[in-house]
């Protein structure tokens, strides 16, 4: 215990001696938490649209203004021919072409049917997909408007009409930030904690100070604890700052209890830091440690369920995410912050993460060798 005291004192001194690193540790997450949720949004806006209007009728005008008025599209060209419009797609100035054929108005009124042509630039898949479906929805609405005007409403509609009303629980106005901020916070804590620990022991190896430690009678688990605790404290502080920022900037207050949140984050951090320490005991240089951490962090984050839903992943990927601690963290963050889940609700996740913490830290202790 006494040895641990000296280790911790030394470790904290070293961390706080490097002012640049301290600044980075605290400012980086803050800046990221401020910038990312505001900029990186799933909602597709500013879809560039080129219109080829062969009809030039009042109906075609109405359709076009309805599309533009939706706010999702920007009119990039009003072209005479499809060829001209396609040139815009080729030069990446347009994402979508809406071609309105000749006699659009006449056919619509007289023959009660008309076809429109939509061409999508599928290079940016998300934008094309969503843009195309927005456009489809707007055209369908336009269609409904016209039918309302032109057709005498029969008492019973000729078509079965089922109107769907969705009620968005836990995030009633589908505020994207409410969804993404807890996830980003989870990732920030993971990155900072993971990288700092991964680079720590390996740095002592590089500098040669580990040799002086290895020749002392210090116990291996005490040494690993001495490396674990400082970063655990640091990561908890960062997490707290993050929660405060989420509240101040985005008005997000956890619906569930802070107690549950901190219990989980405490255990989760042991997992992440244990992983970092394990990497550190395997590597000989900081470069190696950095690359290995990058490799795993990319996988952890992309398969963590923050940016893409785990439910829509293929079966093998779903299984893989079970080994991913970040997945549980993001899950629990959303459960507790948005849904108000209690400690009992997050017990399964807590169990898995605890097991991981024990395995990773135990492995790190075993893999740290004082005698080669």
């Amino acid at each position: 215990m006494r040895t641990l005291k000296f280790l911790l004192r030394k470790e904290f001194r070293q961390i706080f001696r490097d002012k640049a690193i301290v600044a980075l540790i605290f400012f980086m997450p803050c800046i990221q938490l401020i910038i990312m949720p505001l900029a990186a949004d799933y909602e597709v806006r500013n879809v560039n649209l080129a219109v080829v209007d062969h009809d030039k009728s009042s109906y075609s005008q109405k359709l076009i203004s309805k599309v533009i008025a939706s706010g999702y599209f920007r009119l990039q060209g009003y072209n005479a021919s499809f060829k001209e419009a396609f040139a815009l797609i080729e030069s990446d100035k347009a994402d979508l072409i809406l071609e309105i054929p000749q006699d659009f108005e006449r056919n619509l009124i007289r023959e009660d049917k008309q076809k429109l042509f939509v061409a999508v630039n599928a290079i940016n898949g998300t934008k094309a997909n969503l843009g195309g479906s927005y456009l489809g929805t707007i055209i369908a609405a336009f269609n409904a408007d016209i039918r309302l005007q032109l057709i005498q409403q029969p008492r019973f509609s000729a078509f079965p009409v089922i109107d769907i009303v969705a009620n968005n629980w836990f995030n009633p106005v589908l505020n994207y930030k409410v969804f993404i901020v807890p996830g980003i916070l989870a990732i920030l804590v993971t990155m900072v904690g993971g990288f700092l620990t991964a680079l720590n022991i390996v740095k002592e190896k590089e500098v040669g100070t580990i040799e002086q430690i290895n020749v002392t009678p210090i116990k291996k688990h005490i040494f690993i604890l001495g490396k674990l605790i400082p970063f655990w404290v640091l990561a908890n502080i960062i997490f707290t700052i993050g929660l405060l920022l989420a509240r101040l900037i985005y008005g997000i207050t956890p619906v569930g209890s802070l107690f549950t949140l901190y219990i989980f984050i405490s255990v989760y951090l042991l997992t992440v830091l244990g992983f970092g320490l394990l990497v550190s005991t395997f590597c000989d240089t900081q470069q190696q440690a950095m690359f290995i951490m990058f490799f795993f962090m990319m996988i952890f984050i992309l398969l963590g369920g923050l940016f893409t839903s785990i439910d829509s992943m293929p079966q093998w990927a779903k299984l893989l995410t079970r080994l991913n601690p970040v997945r549980y963290m993001i899950e629990v963050m959303r459960m507790v912050i948005l849904k108000g889940s209690s400690l009992k609700d997050v017990l399964p996740q807590l169990g898995v993460v605890s097991l991981m913490a024990v395995i990773l830290n135990g492995w790190a202790i075993l893999n740290y060798k004082k005698t080669n």
């Binding site: 006494r2 040895t3 005291k5 001194r13 040799e211 002086q212």
Partner: protein, 248 residues
Amino acid sequence: MVSEEKVIVCDKLTKRFGDFIATNEITFEVNKGEIFGFLGANGAGKTTAMRMLCGLSSPTSGNATIAGFDVYRQTEDIKRNIGYMSQKFSLYENLTVLENIEFFGGIYGLSDQQLKTKTAELVDRLGLKSEAKKLVGSLPLGWKQKLSFSVAVLHEPKIVFLDEPTGGVDPVTRRQFWDMIYEAAERGITVFVTTHYMDEAEYCNRISIMVDGKMEVLDTPANLKNTFNVGSMDEVFYQLARGAKRAD
């Protein structure tokens, strides 16, 4: 004060790295309080042998006991009883002189009271009073080495292992360094030291010279000069090391 008690007993100690035999069946004993010079050309296997004796590296074969503890099974007991100063400076450069002393003293289990008196003594002895709160990284090499040594013997170990402690250090500081070694030996600490300076070899009670992983000779400096019928340790070393096949 050299006594009859054996603190290092080595019997055919060997370390292989694949096909390469770094240390080949070295056998020797060192008495308590002795200053034992461990000489050899670069790559002769000195550091490997020393790392085995410190419990940092497991031997491939052979036996050795350090302060009565076995190098295979009791490495942590060995570590409690030795001090070690590696070839590469390995105190924390981003901690101050005082912080380094406190840390290593604390790790070796010194009490607060012991730490306090030891630190004061040490700072005084090294003349580092005005530098005590400076980062170790900013000290000149000579001071760093003296500090390293002082930290290595802070917990009054039975044996202290010094791996080229005076490499790159000026002659005056080297002299002071050897004064410190003598003081430690006076207190009964056995000193096991490697060096490339033959004048330093003369300061040792006994010296051994390693060539290509084997211990070729082991005797007092005076006896060695007689045996080889030469006037200086330089010549003894030269005659032996000339035959070495390994180079850097």
